[in-house]
Amino acid sequence: MKAWDFVFLAYGIVWSALVFYLTVLRRRCRKIEAELVRLQSPGDKKKNEQK
């Protein structure tokens, strides 16, 4: 393992981890937003009674 391999390894891990976390965050946000829209939609009275 030459010096540059370590450098790329470190940078690779850090930035891929951050990007991965960002995508997970984005996906969770979209899921919650969809649920929020579904809850606030006009039919929410009926939907809540069923739940």
Binding site: F6, V7, Y11, W15, L18, Y21, C29, I32
Partner: protein
């Protein structure tokens, strides 16, 4: 609520763009522009990653402390969401810091892990705030989990100086301070070009940190919103 999310949504994308720009600049300066270290050679470039991530980790635990203290004082959900978001991202950055530290340690000292004071301190912080996330997830009742999280956030932060002292005294007892020379901050005798790279990367890390933090807070607010509509919507 809708109007603020649109405005902060746009604010967030500007922050994201800026962060991305600074990341590219930082990478360019760190990997290409900055000269290799006379003593360690190319591997020293990990420092541009290591120092900023340690500082952002400490910053996030300070934000957890502020969020926890505010929550205990005024009991507003907003502060609790801030504390939880900062803790989650803090754990992420601390974990990455330890990974970088050991990757840097292998070529520099030949071992994956040294009981160096700074690394040990970061590992302890990681343990404390993994405990924070575990505690928060294992208490069902939401208000109770928020209060308990706030208590651990405050006590954990108060403990940091004591841990810092005890680890450094323990360190100097066993082995002369290592190359990182914890007492002397690493950027004193550093080549100016390196200094620029370091500061650019530091700004990049800060921007990335606040971008992640704001989107995690938005997620927390959305969850709060869902809870409110389900509560009041069903009323």
């Amino acid at each position: 609520m809708a109007s603020t999310t649109k405005k902060s949504g746009r604010g967030r994308s500007i922050l994201g763009g800026l962060a991305f720009f600074f990341i590219l600049m930082g990478l360019y300066f760190a990997l290409i522009q900055a000269p290799p270290d006379a003593y360690q050679g190319e591997v020293q470039r990990i420092m541009y990653l290591h120092i900023p991530s340690i500082l952002t980790a400490y910053l996030s635990f300070f934000i957890v402390f502020i969020g926890s203290a505010l929550f205990l004082w005024k009991r507003e959900r907003r502060d609790d969401i801030l504390a939880y978001a900062a803790a989650e991202i803090g754990v992420l950055f601390t974990g990455l810091t330890i990974v970088e530290g050991s990757i840097w340690g292998k070529p520099a000292w030949g071992v994956w892990w040294t009981w160096d004071a700074r690394l040990t301190l970061t590992a302890i912080l990681l343990l404390i705030f993994v405990g924070y996330l575990m505690l928060r997830s294992l208490i069902e009742d939401e208000d109770q989990s928020a209060v308990c999280g706030a208590v651990l956030g405050i006590i954990g932060f108060l403990d940091i100086p004591l841990i810092h002292m005890s680890v450094y005294w323990w360190r100097t007892l066993h082995q002369p301070p290592s190359i990182l020379r914890p007492d002397k901050l690493p950027w004193e005798n550093v080549h100016p070009a390196m200094l620029i790279a370091l500061s650019i990367n530091f700004i990049a890390f800060l921007l990335v940190y606040f971008y992640l933090l704001s989107s995690r807070i938005r997620l927390g607010e959305l969850q709060e919103e869902v809870k409110k509509t389900r509560l009041y919507g069903a009323a």
